[in-house]
């Protein structure tokens, strides 16, 4: 079930981070857009974690997996747990995440695991929109003013190293992410070029998220996300 946790935790942590923009985005319209994207990711996370819990067979439901695991038990990539930074950093994170999730969900939607294929089929359409949103903003910020270009380039440079972890080989997964990097680059490189941004060189490649070794940022994120459920177990709206 580790591959399901990787997918589900990526979506869950990305949703939590995007949710931090609610009521704080640069514009009301962008506020709603980011909240929509966060809710898409949360919806996918719920289905994936529910399925992971059932496969595990230990009686853990989506809430138990989301709220009662510690950071070492999370399998998300480091990219999604990084702080939002400025709007350019958030868009760089979203661009790279969506450019990874789109070919991944597309491949998974044809995999032998029918339930996972159905979840991926639904998520694929949502992620196509996330990619579109991040692409449009990357183009506008990269090819905008001198200041927006500077900040977008800085964001891409900052986040790029964390994209390598997305394509770590996992031969036991239904779709090995290692085979998706060419598709990722085919999506991302033209966007960066059109946005007049320099595609960073491949070098430093921090990793560990898939093994539960996270940055310190995840602990703070989980503290906020889990505090209510831990203080009031089983609390409901």
């Amino acid at each position: 079930m580790d591959h399901l946790l990787a997918l589900g935790d990526d979506a869950l942590v990305a949703a939590q981070r995007l949710g931090e923009w609610v009521a704080a985005a640069p514009e009301l319209e962008e506020d709603i857009a980011l909240a929509n994207i966060a809710l898409d990711q949360l919806g996918a996370a719920r289905m994936l974690l529910t399925y992971a819990g059932e496969l595990e067979g230990a009686g853990r439901d989506e809430d138990a997996l989301a709220y009662l695991r510690d950071d070492r038990e999370f399998r998300n990539c480091l990219l999604v747990e990084l702080p939002n930074g400025d709007f350019a950093v958030t868009m760089a994170k979203l661009l790279f995440l969506a450019a990874y999730q789109l070919p991944l969900y597309t491949a998974l939607s044809g995999c032998a695991d029918e339930r996972l294929a159905a979840i991926a089929g639904k998520a694929r359409k949502e992620v196509a929109y996330h990619l579109d949103h991040a692409r449009l903003w990357t183009l506008r910020l990269g090819d905008g003013t001198a200041e927006s270009h500077r900040r977008m380039q800085s964001a891409v440079d900052e986040i790029w190293p964390y994209t390598h972890e997305l394509f770590q080989p996992d031969p036991t997964a239904p779709v090995d992410p290692a085979g998706l990097r060419a598709e990722f680059l085919a999506i991302v490189e033209p966007v960066l070029a059109e946005a007049t941004l320099t595609r960073p060189a491949d070098g430093w490649a921090p990793e560990g998220g898939r093994r539960g070794l996270h940055t310190e940022h995840l602990s703070y994120l989980l503290a906020e996300m889990q505090v209510l459920h831990r203080a009031h177990p089983g609390a409901r709206w």
């Binding site: 514009e27 319209e29 962008e30 709603i32 857009a33 929509n36 949103h133 449009l136 506008r140």
Partner: protein, 124 residues
């Protein structure tokens, strides 16, 4: 453009235009300084016409369309969206209401109610 025309419906009674946004009171930053206003039209189903559903701010048409999708079709309200720069709309002025609309009030013969409906044509 005549003196009576406005660039936006309701501009005279509280509506906003892009130029209004840059001349806001000094008690807040002009947050929408560079972002023009767009009017949004949504077609709820095939066969129906697009209807005005509201407005939004966006830097350009492409993002206006996406913002409209996020703001006005979250609950499956539509199958097609138009966005139009609010500045491109010429609207009648409230000052002209009497001259524009009152003369139609006593011309009942303009309503198609003076015809016999043929038998067997209930939906004419």
């Amino acid at each position: 453009m005549s003196d009576h025309a406005r660039t936006l419906p309701g501009a005279g009674d509280g509506g906003r235009t892009p130029s209004d946004d840059t001349s806001r009171p000094a008690n807040g930053p002009a947050r929408h300084g560079g972002w023009p206003l767009w009017e949004v039209f949504v077609r709820p189903r095939r066969g129906l016409a697009h209807h005005h559903v509201g407005s939004l701010h966006a830097p350009d048409a492409e993002l206006a369309l996406r913002n409209a999708r996020d703001l006005y079709t979250r609950r499956q309200e539509g199958v097609s969206i138009w966005v139009v720069p609010a500045a491109a709309i010429t609207a009648s002025s409230p000052d002209e209401k009497d001259a524009f609309f009152d003369p139609a009030a006593d011309k009942v013969y303009r309503h198609p109610t003076f015809y016999e409906v043929p038998e067997g044509a209930p939906h004419l």
